[in-house]
Structure formats: C-alpha cells, structure tokens
Homo-oligomer: 376 residues x 2
C-alpha cells in the first residue's frame, strides 16, 4: 500500500522528472533550501536572540527537518506522535509536541520518545498533566510541559493568566515533569490578509502571553520559553520582547493560501518561493477548451481553496473530483494528452498528508525520494 | 509510515473500540453488510437483468470488494491502477478501470493486471487506444476497452455519437483490444438534491448513451455493455432499457453529503446506513461551550462539507485545522477530556484515502483491521 510503488521510487533518483508516475508530490530542492536559508538569515539579522523551531507538521519529513536544524533551528515542533516518532528516528534531538495528550497510551508513546530525544508537550488541563507525570515516571524520563494559552486562536489553551499560573504550578509539583513555559500560538492570525490585521491580532497574543508569563514569574516560577508564531506573522512575534521561539512551518514549501497574504509592513521579510507542487498528467482533451488531468481530491487538499495553475499560463482550474481535475484551456493552446503539469497546492500541510513520499528534484532530475510520516 | 502503527493494529482484533488509538477510521460491519445486501436485493427484485459492479474507489479495500462479489456483484470498478492492483491481488476476478490511461508506463501496469484478472478500461481518444494496444501486445493479453461518452458530467468522454463510433471502430481494429461498450457515468447528477433533477439529468445521459450505442450497433459493431450510475441515481439508470451495469460505490458507507439528497421517487430504494465514522478523542475542554478533538483536515476531507456530529446530540462542528476539530457544546453537557466521539464524514471517498487502515467493528469490539489501497 503506497502512493507510488516503492519499486518505482527506488528507480527514480538520477532519472528525469518525466519518468515519475503521476500524480506525485514534488519538492524543488533549490527552492526548499533557499526558503530555509532565507528565514534563518532574516532571524540572524533581525532577531538574533530568538530561536527557530520549525513546525514539522508541514512536511512530516525527517530529511527536511535535518536541513532546518543544519541551518540553525533548535529542533522541531510536531502535531502528532507519529511525526514525533519519525523525527526522533531521523535524528532530531529536540522535539516539541504542540498539542495536548488525552490518554495514557499516547502519554506512554511520548515518554518513549523522551528516552531518545529532548521532548516537550503542551497542556491546558490538570488531567493531562497527571497522565504525563504517570508516563514520565513509568519510563523514568523527564518531559517538558508548556501551558497552552488561548491567545486568540479559539481552539485549545487556558483562558486566563490565573489559570495558566495554576497549571504551571501543578506542573512544577509533578515528578518527572519540567515546566518549560507557554505555548502561545495564534493560528487564526496567520491568514489574516493585511499586515495591519495580523499586527493587531499578534498584539493581542503578546499581551495575553505576557500577562500569563508575568503572573507565573511573579509567583517565583521560571518561565523560560514563550513559543508560537507561524509563516504569516513570525516577524511580528520576533519583534516583540515576549516570544523566545518561533514555530513557522509552511515557509519551507509555501502554498496558494499563504500567497494571498498581503506583504508584511516589516522590511526584509523574505518572499518565500513555491517549492511544493503536485505533478499530474493530462489524460483527456475532450474539447478544445477543456482538459482533464489525473490529480484530484485525493492528491491535493481543497480545504483552503483550489490549486493554482500559475506555472502554466493559459490554463485555469475549474473543478476537482476524486482523481481528476478539470481545467479550462485558452484558445490556441497546444496542450496534449500525456503532457505534464505542476499544480501549486492551495494548502500545503494536508496536501503532504495525502502522499507517502516526496520526490525531491533539481534541474528536472529526481535527486531523492523522501518518506512522509503520514498518520498518527 | 502508517496511519496507526502496524503493531498497534495487530493487537486490536477482539479488543474493545475503547483501545483503538485515535484518530482512526471505523466501519460498522453490520451496517456495511446490510448496505451491501440491501442494494443486491433491490436489484434482484427490480432490475434482475442488470449487473452490479460497485466502485472500489470508495473503499479501496479488497475485503469489502469480496463481500460485494459474494452478494452478487460481477466484479468492481477502480479509478486508479493502485486500486486495481490491490483488487486483483485480493482475488477480484473482473476489474473495470473507469478512467483513461495516458502513458505507456501505466498501460504496462494495466496489462500486467490483465494476466491475472479480466480487465477493461476507458478511452476517449485514439492516442490512448494506441498505448493500450501496444501494452496488450507486449504482455500477450487482451484488454477490454469502453468508449467513454460525456453524458453530462463535463469531465472526460467523447462529445458525440459519431466520435464514439469512430473510437469504437478503432478499438475493434486494434490487436489485443476488445471493444466492450460504453462508459456513461454522470457524476454531477449524483448530488442533485431532488429526485426530479436527478431524473432529468439521467434522462439526458440515457439519451446520449442510447444514441452512441445505436450508431455503433447499426455500423455492425456489438456494444454489449453500457455502464454507469452511482449511489445518487442508480434506480433511474436501472429502470432504463439502456444501462446494463451499475457502478454505485458510496452506498457501502454513505456520508453526510449523500444524506442531503432528497429521497428517490422510486419506491423500494434502500435507505443506506452510515457505516463509516472517524473515531476521535476529546483532547481539550478549554471552556464549557467548547471542546477540541484530535481529528482534523488530515483525518477527514472537507471537500463536500464538514463531518456531522449526529451521533452525539448536544455537540456541533465549528471548524477544523490540520489535526483538530473545534466543537460547540450545549449547556449541561458532561463531555470530558478523554471521551471518544464518532464523526460522520462529509465525503466518504477522500476520507478513506487519508487512512492506511479501516478498523472493522461489531457491537463495540474490533473484528478485523483491513488495509486501504491508498495512492496510485
């Protein structure tokens, strides 16, 4: 069971892209490396005291995580234990699970990872803390625990500084746990379209995080890490005196949805390049004005809008079904059955999760095939 | 790389659902079998001369296909070669790929399947026919080929009876190929909400298919199969004198989107049961009116709308991110962290494609874990 057969993938390195069976997920390595370097360079210049811990939920790929760490990242974030296991197995030494653990089985998996890597995780309830403490004690490891604060995302997280302090205090008392600080990620802010909207949202996040950290510190508990931010807002958190760590993920690949954000008002923010595409073959040309290709709902996610045909002027996306996209074709196009196209995904993270492998390429040639740690 | 670890899955048969790690894809076997039996019984009574060839793109699972064949299906449809390979490997003897093949590598894979099963495929262009003929000759097999006619779906398919005849004639002349008939599937009609709209759309499909078949037959070419229909319209095609074969897929699982269709005006059409759910755990209860669970965009597809919480009165779906859903919670709910929920997917097919395994259960106990032939 594989997105493209393992046998086919073994034959690909060194072969031209034309030999890759479609649909397939491609990464342009030069663009990927340029994105990794651009963010690292921006932070070195503009926010030298702030750590970068990129989110691996975007790529689920230890090879890409190692490139991020080589460029200066302190480790990675993960959203699932499957990702964390793959990252630890791939040699990433410091892993933050930016999520809550709600059952003993998963707490035990997390503690097992902590026997080979530095591991931290989030909590917003004392019941989660008890599960983590039990698992850490059983395994004889220490888990870092951050209190998640709802800084405007409206998802998980305690709703007040007082609740953050209560939970931080319970973590400091729990054997096997180390209170590591605050998770203060504002997910909704990432896709607000204007810089002014994003700035206002992150001002609120900074205030909420600062209030909680201040209360915790005044109670005598150290609060070393305040972590958050994403590709849409990182330069704003970086300019605060509050955040110590940034969690940008999508910048490695970019996608159509992030491309809709208006430019930052902060100078020097890199223009990340589209490095991720879905390779597809035209399988039908039923009319001059219509083409059908072999990538659909099962090869890219539509949750944040359709893929773009910006790499193929004269073509536009009309609709997708399970295994097809229907394309509009301008007058005079020479597009033929068998021609290959690269679609820019609307949303990179869930598109990656549809594929078992990423085909890395440079100058039209496959350089490597990287496994994706799909699943949980 | 697996959606839930292979080791965990080996331990599950015979264990209670409470031990399944989340998120996970569940199938209620009693409901699945009832859906399979209900369609078979309807067709036996109401359309005894019409074959059922269920679409395996819905489930991608040889175990389910074998149950369909045991209930009288003549074989299955597949949309991808990966599905076809899995079905042939799982003992399904007759496979129709309801799709066009546009490159020599895939034609060779198709011909390889034809060495172990009866295989047919669609075409809407003479170039595809040439590829298929080359592959059949190289492998020494015979491939059935159906001409796909655009009967209103606006995707693949020839646009006229004359073009269908031309292509049918070229297939009959090609060595290694057998002209098998017409693919006449009206995808768009499946989700028209009223029976009257669906009936009007299928009347158009019947007319287009009939015109093409008539022209082909009058030219002296046999046109044994006219195949199409889905869960939304099958009783209409079944009542025509035109269709010889039905391709319903989603009926095995049902989903929220098909649930929006108004009832058929044809009496006796079964009410298929929701057999497919996504099992998820409540991981956070940040406020009395909000819960967050651990299934998001990477555990169910949003392309046809959100999942339903109909199995859990008092809860409603508010939004999803990669690995979370945010739920509204009615006053007075006792919902706690660690509680488990079953979500009904908006669209079954792409939801299945996010998972490597289906957890089959009956009466709260896991009976089997079935592999999903994800990918291509």
């Amino acid at each position: 069971v594989a997105s493209i057969s393992a046998q086919h993938c073994r034959t690909l390195p060194g072969r031209p892209l034309a030999e890759v069976e479609t649909p397939a997920l491609l990464v342009d390595v030069a663009r990927l490396d340029a994105n990794i370097a651009a963010l690292a360079e921006f932070l070195r210049r503009r926010a030298p005291g702030i750590r970068l811990r990129p989110h691996a939920k975007t790529h689920k790929c230890a090879e890409i995580a190692r490139r991020q760490v080589a460029a200066g990242a302190v480790g990675v974030c993960c959203q699932t234990l499957g990702e964390a296991e793959a990252m630890a197995g791939g040699g990433i030494a410091d892993i933050l699970v930016t999520n809550e653990i709600a059952d003993a089985g998963k707490a035990a998996r997390l503690a097992a990872i902590a026997s080979v890597a530095t591991v931290s995780v989030c909590a917003d309830d004392s019941g989660q803390v008890a599960l983590l403490a039990d698992a850490a004690a059983s395994r004889g490891v220490t888990l870092g625990v951050l209190v998640e604060v709802d800084v405007g995302g409206g998802r998980c997280g305690v709703g007040s500084a007082a609740a953050a302090l209560d939970l931080a205090a319970s973590i400091t008392r729990a054997p096997g746990l180390r209170f590591a600080g605050l998770q203060a990620y504002h997910g909704r802010a990432q896709h607000l379209r204007t810089h002014a909207e994003r700035e206002a949202a992150i001002a609120g996040a900074v205030a909420a995080a600062e209030e909680a950290a201040d209360l915790i510190r005044r109670s005598g508990i150290a609060c070393p890490t305040i972590t958050g931010a994403g590709t849409g807002t990182f330069e704003i958190e970086a300019a605060s005196a509050t955040y110590t760590e940034l969690q940008c993920g999508s910048y490695v690949f970019m996608d159509v949805d992030y491309g809709r954000n208006a430019r930052s008002a902060v100078g020097g923010v890199p223009d990340f390049a589209h490095a991720l595409t879905v390779l597809t073959t035209v399988i039908s040309r039923p009319r001059p004005e219509r083409a059908v290709c072999d990538a659909g709902l099962k090869a890219f996610s539509l949750d944040s809008g359709p893929p773009s045909l910006a790499l193929h002027p004269g073509l536009d996306f009309r609709g997708a079904s399970d295994e097809h996209s229907t394309l509009g074709v301008d007058d005079g196009s020479e597009l033929r059955i068998g021609d290959r196209l690269q679609l820019l995904p609307g949303h990179c993270d869930p598109t990656v999760a549809l594929h078992d492998r990423i085909i890395a390429h440079e100058n039209g040639v496959v350089t490597s095939v990287w496994p994706v740690a799909r699943g949980w």
